[in-house]
Subunit: 426 residues, 2 copies
């Protein structure tokens, strides 16, 4: 009975797993050095958890299931609702600011496409309890600290930054009724994701007056704050944007960042700085994005506490890193391969390998115990630093140690060999 | 709107996450040094995947869902079916033996109870392609290599070992019809998990003759192979069991192991050596278990290739480690905490912290930038090795470095400080 994998999922054979681990280990390392602590929640939550932030449209993008009591659950498509729930649950005992990160496994029931699988991993960074653009700057820096460490330059990636406050003020000035704002964000977010005509049509459907659409499009195409000031007057959000960009410049990552009023983010829940990270030529979908969401904890039944954060997925990032030749996980190299001259010594080879492992060394042997030459090739292929050869000498408690780099061999007493080893165990 | 977590799931706040990571990192480290490579599969598979090995009874223990096409899926309750699918898919290109490990997130829809959550993590080790008891020995060694490394002694844990071949032969000698065997294993597996009366009743229901039940119980209570030989004659499986135990003795882990004919494993799919790992006093459910399953790949539509492996969950192991005081994750210590004498220097503190992170150091600063004393306490609480203090000296490009262990302070030029730092980046 042959059963295929579910469409849109990924099997991680060891080479794929090594790449996944390499990406995720980097995320974790950079999060920790930026002062974030790791958390995680369950793989599923009550379905309604995901409707609070994203409305009912999200439901058809979810893998939903029922528990034994018939309650509706869903596999998480994002971790922010879980974060809000967890923080609210312990809000009185958690020291603030809360600087947390997570690398959740997430699922969405969309049609699979390039760079968008039904199951993926996402790096999430959030700072809760700080109402200061310094926190927005720190999250953006953290993303760039990672992207720069893995070798992506300002020629490879760009963080496009804008402000929801500014956008709301401009939309207000243009005459868009306040009640239309939430649904309008989802439409504006599609500007660079839809053909121009389709976008224009959808936009006009949302607005009472076609002149509004023109004004909005004009705004989104502007390049700097001066132009915006000229057309729409000085905006309160300018100070915050200027401060943010000045932090990023001071911190040496300004070259990666660009002000871009076309950045909207689809969800209604953003309240301040918003940003998205793209490959510089704009050939791929967004690598990630985030921003300030000061009302979310309250929406989840908690207190009124400000928050800011981002999510970066593994799919597009993986495609970009691969394209740039930067996806190069280190293989765990064998410290020792234990070979034997023939099958009679196989058990002795296994014994020595096992003893080396007990001392913390990465060690292996061959179950086949074929010709010595074949075993030496295996040792070399698996990157072993030393190869131990077990043969007749073993009967007088001696073994041969071959340095795989120099090819030099040494005959050594078994006891002496183990006495010389420094344990790798902590 | 306050929504609770789903019953039987676990929220990993940072201290819980640190414990989970500590356990899982250990599993990974020991797997790698024992020569295993990591793999993973999707969180869900087609529902029927889980029926191949475990029959229809498994269905009610699954969280099942449907994809958009209405096909039945289930969140994985174990990874072995996925392993069989993945290996079969690439059977011609994978070099053998296949020595793989995984640490999957798994779910089951059971009633939650102590040491049994609806969501958990499980360490899986498998060797595919070796028809030699040496491979069974290697998997058991690998489990013990971990348990020993974290500090569990033979007084704390025991591996109870038996053989399905031997059990099948004995059941045959007792007169149990072959067709009853598969369902009988599930019953016998309950011997030490059910009250004696209930077990006896269930056992008798499965057998045509009450004398058979007596004989079987007698067998399961025997302590060594000699007694079995006396009652049931010499068994073919004795050689294999003796060889296995002799490997484990040679490798220094014999004290952890015990022959126990009451070990059955519930699933029909085991074909040879079987074992379960328990806390020595037997107060807890099994920590893990495994054995040889030579027919599974074939059952999943693949070739006839032998295999052996185990699974160890995080729940019972966590309870035991906690009880023994052995669950002690290291906290990632700050290399630097950057304090400032007052709020005017907060941005400078952030800047220095960010520069240190750029060089790979774990560094943080305070958003509140309260009294210096408070910041120094924060530095000390977060285990910082050095605390940098930014004050008036910063205007003449100098900073104070305080060694948190000795309390010694040093005034140093900013440039010199950074020039002396050795980057922590690889």
């Amino acid at each position: 009975m042959k059963i295929p994998p579910v469409k849109g999922t990924k099997d991680f054979y060891p080479p794929d797993m090594a790449r996944r681990n390499w990406i995720i280990d980097g995320w974790k390392r950079v999060s920790i050095r930026n002062g974030f602590e790791e958390y995680d929640g369950p793989i599923f939550e009550y379905l309604k958890m995901f409707q609070v932030k994203s409305g009912d449209e999200i439901v058809e993008q979810l893998f939903s299931l029922k528990d034994r009591g018939g309650r509706d659950l869903a596999i998480r498509p994002e971790i922010t609702p879980t974060l809000a729930r967890m923080v609210n649950q312990q809000i009185n005992s958690l020291p603030r600011p809360i600087k947390w990160f997570s690398v959740p496994r997430l699922c969405r029931a969309e049609r699979p496409q390039r760079g968008r699988l039904r199951e993926f991993f996402q790096w999430n960074i959030d700072i809760i309890g700080v109402d200061d653009v310094l926190a927005d700057a720190e999250t953006i820096f953290c993303a760039l600290d990672y992207l720069r460490e893995v070798g992506l330059t300002p020629d490879d990636v760009v963080v496009k930054i804008s402000s929801r406050k500014m956008l709301a003020a401009v939309l207000n000035a243009v005459g868009v009724p306040r009640k239309n704002l939430d649904s309008l964000y989802a439409v504006l977010d599609k500007k660079n994701k839809l053909p121009a005509e389709t976008f224009e049509k959808t936009l006009n459907e949302q607005l009472p007056d076609p002149k509004m659409a023109d004004k909005i499009q004009e705004f989104m195409n502007l390049e700097d704050m001066e132009q915006i000031e000229k057309m729409f007057g000085r905006q309160d959000a300018f100070d915050e944007l200027t401060e943010l960009i000045s932090y990023l410049n001071e911190w040496g990552v300004g070259d990666y960042c660009r002000f871009d009023p076309a950045i909207v983010r689809g969800l209604a829940y953003y309240t301040g700085i918003v940003y998205e990270i793209y490959d510089r030529p704009g050939e791929l979908r967004a690598i990630g994005g985030g921003g300030r969401y000061d009302n979310l904890l309250k929406q989840f039944g908690g207190p009124d506490i400000p928050a800011t954060g981002f999510g970066i997925g593994d799919c597009i990032l993986g495609i970009l890193l691969k394209k740039k030749g930067l996806l190069k996980p280190e293989t765990k190299e064998l410290a020792y391969f234990v070979a034997c001259v023939n099958k009679d010594y196989k058990d002795r080879a296994a014994e020595i390998a096992v003893q080396l492992r007990s001392k913390g060394f990465i060690a292996d042997f061959s179950y086949k115990a074929g010709r010595l030459g074949k075993q030496l090739k295996l040792a070399s292929d698996s990157g072993a630093k030393q190869c131990i050869i077990i043969g007749e000498e073993f009967n007088s408690k001696q073994l041969v140690v071959k340095d795989m780099a120099t090819g030099q061999q040494q005959l050594i007493e078994l006891d002496k060999f183990f006495a010389q080893l420094k344990s790798e165990l902590k």
